[in-house]
């Protein structure tokens, strides 16, 4: 039986590749710190805050999964020491 994380593993892999393929161009184009939404290979749009991005995506796609992330030059390490994994 798949656990929750195994079941979620394939989700957003395509959108992650799309994000990485566009990141350098977005950084060079002044999109750093803006929030981008991606569905499949399609870039839905950019917003100044996560709240604006979520609201716009909810209105357009309802509860369907849409990849949302803040554009950064590079990913800083994310640490949660209290989790066992």
């Amino acid at each position: 039986m798949l656990d929750w994380h195994d079941a979620m593993r394939p989700l957003f892999e395509r959108e992650e590749k799309c994000f990485e393929a566009h990141r350098d161009r977005w950084v060079a184009g002044g999109r750093v710190d803006r929030w981008v939404a991606i569905r499949g290979d399609d870039v839905v749009g950019f917003w100044d805050s996560l709240g604006e991005a979520v609201e716009a995506v909810q209105q357009k796609f309802g509860d369907a999964p849409v990849y949302i992330r803040q554009v950064a030059v590079e990913d800083s390490p994310q640490v949660i020491q209290r989790l066992g994994g």
């Binding site: 656990d3 929750w4 994380h5 979620m8 593993r9 989700l11 957003f12 892999e13 959108e15 992650e16 805050s49 996560l50 709240g51 979520v54 609201e55 995506v57 909810q58 509860d63 999964p65 990849y67 949302i68 992330r69 800083s76 390490p77 994310q78 640490v79 949660i80 020491q81 209290r82 989790l83 066992g84 994994g85």
Partner: protein, 142 residues
């Protein structure tokens, strides 16, 4: 000379509470969006977490929107976790001093407690803790 000094702007929020045994917690209200019923969390203030974290089961129960999957470093090594969006309200000492915004929260099946209040939120202000030899004292965040 003193006439040219500009006083610092007042803090937009001010919160605080007791620290007991080096453990400090803050009450956070969270929901899917501003229209949904709020759930009350007692969140552990955790300067060792870069991201605010809740249980996956709670994220699903609240119907939080999944944003992506992302790798995190934990005490047991790297893991890939789901990141959600949550509308949060954090109350202040005065009713008009409230932090209200949509933030990213990380979902974990292996979380001790209800919520970890991480540096992503704490960096919105300045956290000060005063502790005695027993790890008891007060925290202040503004």
């Amino acid at each position: 000379m003193s006439a040219s000094l500009v006083p610092p702007p007042p803090p937009s929020f001010s919160m605080g509470g007791p620290v007991r045994g080096r453990v400090a917690s803050i009450i956070v209200y969270g929901a899917k969006d501003a229209q949904s019923q709020l759930h009350r969390f007692e969140a552990l203030i955790d300067t060792g977490a870069t991201a605010t974290t809740i249980k996956d089961s709670q994220a699903q129960a609240l119907g939080l929107r999944m944003l992506r999957r992302q790798q995190f470093n934990t005490a047991n090594g790297p893991v890939v976790l789901t990141v959600y969006a949550m509308h949060v309200i954090v109350g202040g000492r005065q009713q008009n001093l409230v932090l209200r915004k949509t933030i990213e929260v990380v979902g974990s099946t292996n979380l001790f407690g209800e919520m970890l209040y991480g540096m992503d939120m704490l960096s919105e202000g300045t956290l000060t803790m005063t502790l005695d030899a027993h790890g008891n004292g007060n925290w202040d965040w503004r």
